[in-house]
């Protein structure tokens, strides 16, 4: 069993009390949390997004512009609610007072000096050799956060229009997905998307949850609002399904990296490989529908987690581009293969660091930050070229397998994933779109398989 010791990030004010948890179990806990004890009658704003099954061209979006949405998702709702929590003093520090800079160089790595993020917490042991672990309700999870840390509920609209309700009771039966603050933000507006929070899902990608994350990126409608995902073993600290997200109007180095196309799937999803970037990874974009893109990416993630390969995902460009990085830093760290010099920085290379946004804990590291240093750290995260080729082959094999199945399996897959189609249109979209496959005659596929 491989383990590493690290200082876990405190994402909720209720996480700190974990040690005393045992004594408090059972009955109304008095913390106004999201568990059965407190949730009855609790109310939260609700943002219902519009499902877009058709091709998301800018032209169709343009038609919507005239019909103004009831509330601007990013500027009015998310950042507004976040500022409100800041005025209420719920965060551990004011992240806007943390110095940050773009490091000179070709890629423009972003460095932030954040001395407060990892204070007051003892290092904890993390098992890093198992990407899938069962949910443990006794450990800290998001049902234990206080309701004041939850900003709003986020769900698909029933009538195909964006809707907003300032105050809606939490419908326990309906398994709401919520957006909550991260009390240790790495940027202004740093939040967590917790799909179907009350179901107690472990940190594990499934099609429906990944689609939800893409919809959130699309709802924000701003290319600089990105979502990220860390699997267990790739620096996720909490084994309760969640995505992170924040807004930072600076291009990430990963988005600037050149790419080389590998193939285009029959559903239009283009898969490329990153070139000339310290971490090897895949880039997914395009697709006839948002669902196509979501399915190809989530199937790739499912393949990785089932093969016990830790990975990170970045959703960028309003959900139009997705980056996937299998990684091995934690494993190397557990095996003692990472240089002490790098370990001393205590930088945990999770999705944001890999994307080029480095949060540094020591002033010295911040002052000496250079593209070369960032590159050196990230190079340790990357799989070797050989291993990456193997992993790539696994992914393409999994994607091609979907192609081999017929429509009957499609239905069972949907049932397995517990996706409840809301409309005839969606059923069709699922049937047509859920089996990405190679364009026949593509030379690349033969090479890979």
């Amino acid at each position: 069993m491989l383990r590493i010791r690290r200082v876990p990030t405190v994402v909720s004010n209720y996480q700190k009390e974990e040690a005393e948890e045992g004594a408090r179990q059972g009955g109304g806990c008095g913390r106004n949390c999201l568990n059965k004890c407190c949730i009855l009658g609790a109310k939260l704003p609700l943002y219902a997004f519009k499902r877009v099954n058709k091709i998301v061209t800018e032209k169709t979006l343009l038609g919507d512009e005239n019909k103004e949405p009831p509330v601007d998702f990013l500027d009015s709702l998310l950042l507004g609610e976040w500022e409100d929590r800041m005025q209420r003093g719920l965060f551990r520090y004011d992240v806007t007072a943390c110095e940050t800079k773009v490091i000179p160089g070709e890629y423009g790595f972003i460095a932030q000096l954040n001395e407060g993020r990892h204070l007051k917490k003892r290092p904890t042991e993390f098992r890093v050799d198992k990407v899938l672990q069962p949910f443990d309700g006794n450990k800290f999870n998001f049902t234990k956060v206080g309701q004041e840390e939850v900003l709003f509920q986020f769900e698909a609209s029933e009538d195909d229009e964006v809707q907003f309700f300032p105050n809606v009771p939490i419908d326990v039966e309906n398994s709401p997905s919520v957006v909550a603050i991260n009390v240790s933000p790495i940027e202004y507006g740093h939040v967590l998307l917790i799909p179907r929070i009350l179901e107690g899902l472990p940190q594990r990608i499934d099609r429906e949850s990944f689609l939800l994350a893409l919809y959130m990126a699309a709802a924000a409608g701003n290319p600089y609002f990105r979502l990220g995902y860390n699997s267990l073993g790739a620096f996720a600290t909490i084994n309760h399904l969640h995505f992170q997200a924040y807004y930072l109007a600076v291009p990430f180095p990963i988005e600037k990296a050149p790419t080389k196309k590998i193939t285009t799937m029959t559903d239009g999803v283009k898969i490329s490989e990153l070139l000339n970037y310290p971490v090897r990874g895949l880039v997914f974009e395009g697709g006839n529908t948002l669902l196509d893109l979501a399915n190809v990416v989530s199937d790739s993630c499912i393949c990785l987690q089932e093969n016990n390969i830790p990975y990170n995902v970045l959703i960028s460009d309003s959900g139009k581009r997705v980056f996937l990085f299998p990684q091995c830093y934690a494993e190397k760290q557990a095996l003692g293969e990472v240089s002490p010099e790098l370990l001393d920085t205590q930088v945990n290379p999770a999705v944001w660091e890999i994307s080029g946004h480095m949060v540094l804990k020591r002033k010295k590291d911040y002052e000496e930050a250079s593209e070369e240093n960032a590159w050196r750290l990230l190079a340790e995260v990357s799989l070797s070229e050989e291993r990456f080729e193997e992993v790539k082959a696994l992914i393409f094999e999994a994607l091609a397998c979907d192609n081999g199945d017929n429509g009957g399996v499609s239905q069972s897959f949907i049932e397995k994933q517990d996706v409840t189609p809301q409309s005839v249109e969606e059923v069709e979209a699922l049937n047509n779109g859920s089996h990405p496959s190679m364009v026949p005659g593509k030379q690349e596929c033969i090479v890979l398989l």
Binding site: E83, K101, K260
Partner: protein, 395 residues
Amino acid sequence: MDTQLGLIEQSFNVRYSVWVREALDDLSGSFTTTDPCISGHPIVYASRGFLKMSLYSRDEVIGKNGRMFQGPKTNRKSVMEIREAIREERAIQINILNYRKDGTPFWMLFRMSPVFNKEDGRVIHFVGVQVPILQKHRQSSSGFGRNGVNLCEDGVFASRRREVCSDSVAELARFLAMDSVLGSDDRELEVDEPSEASDLEMRNAVTAINNTLSVLTHYSELTGRLVCGKRCCLSGMGLLGSSLNISLGRIKQSFVLIEPHLPDMPIVYARDVFLKMTGYARHEVLGHNCRFLGGVETNSSTIFQIKESIRTEQACTIRILNYRKDKSKFWNFLHISPVRNASGKIAYFVEVQIDESRKNQDKQGLSHKMRQCSVVGAVKAAVRSLSMVTDTSNS
């Protein structure tokens, strides 16, 4: 929508004399002008050639953002590169796949250049030129394989590409040739990989941009508000960059930014809604201290509270009696908050005004407190992010 169109009219009329549209209409070629200071960074002028090429009517494109011509196969990285050029207020030339009104895609060489206010170096407009790339110039993939790709993977490529604004056509040709090598080792559907622009097409782009710039310069001379294609003046102290303007322009509520480090703490940014609420014109408020909103009946202890809030760098919410330009009074439900830049220092104070008599008129159903929070949140995020660019030179 009317006010938006009004702003678009003004965007041109304030800057150039009356015949500028006719003069531009006489130019051949496809080009557009956009205004980064208007919310949504819309197209404010589109040439006949552009309309002919895109198959849209003028009314269908004026007021819209250039992204309306992108489609599912438009390369997202190219879009990002254009967005970056806008943000950094520099020129760019790039091959990009766009879509006509009927949905057909076509490759074009897009060259874009900022137009500056000669006096203070502020970006007034962007001029974009679109030269369709003819299929016969498409690069055949046979000549280049993986080796071709590897040649330009040394990292030099990306940094040099940023210098594409160099005026030398020969230089451009070199970069673009490299560009096409990078994407050419894949035999694909026609639209999937970039087309290469010919020398002629590249020359045409340069000529078109120069012609447009010279028309704009000429017609600005007559109004006395001179524009130029090169930034002549860097004294734009206290002025907000166009990318910050674009971000702030999305906020639909009344607010101003004040600059605490300048003498007398003047307003450096005022939202249109603020002007409407108070009845002042923009030039009457920019550069002035907010005290002009006060009057004989304004409570002096409230004013003291504002000063204290700024002195102690703390947010505060107060109710203050203010006066419009026409001397009519209104109760201003005012929120003030410090706004920090990327280095963590206070760059501005944001003041969000809500006219108390209209406090509850919000179709979104958000409380007035939440509406104030939204403005503060959006301003804080924009200022912090957009001050990161400038810091590169210092570090």
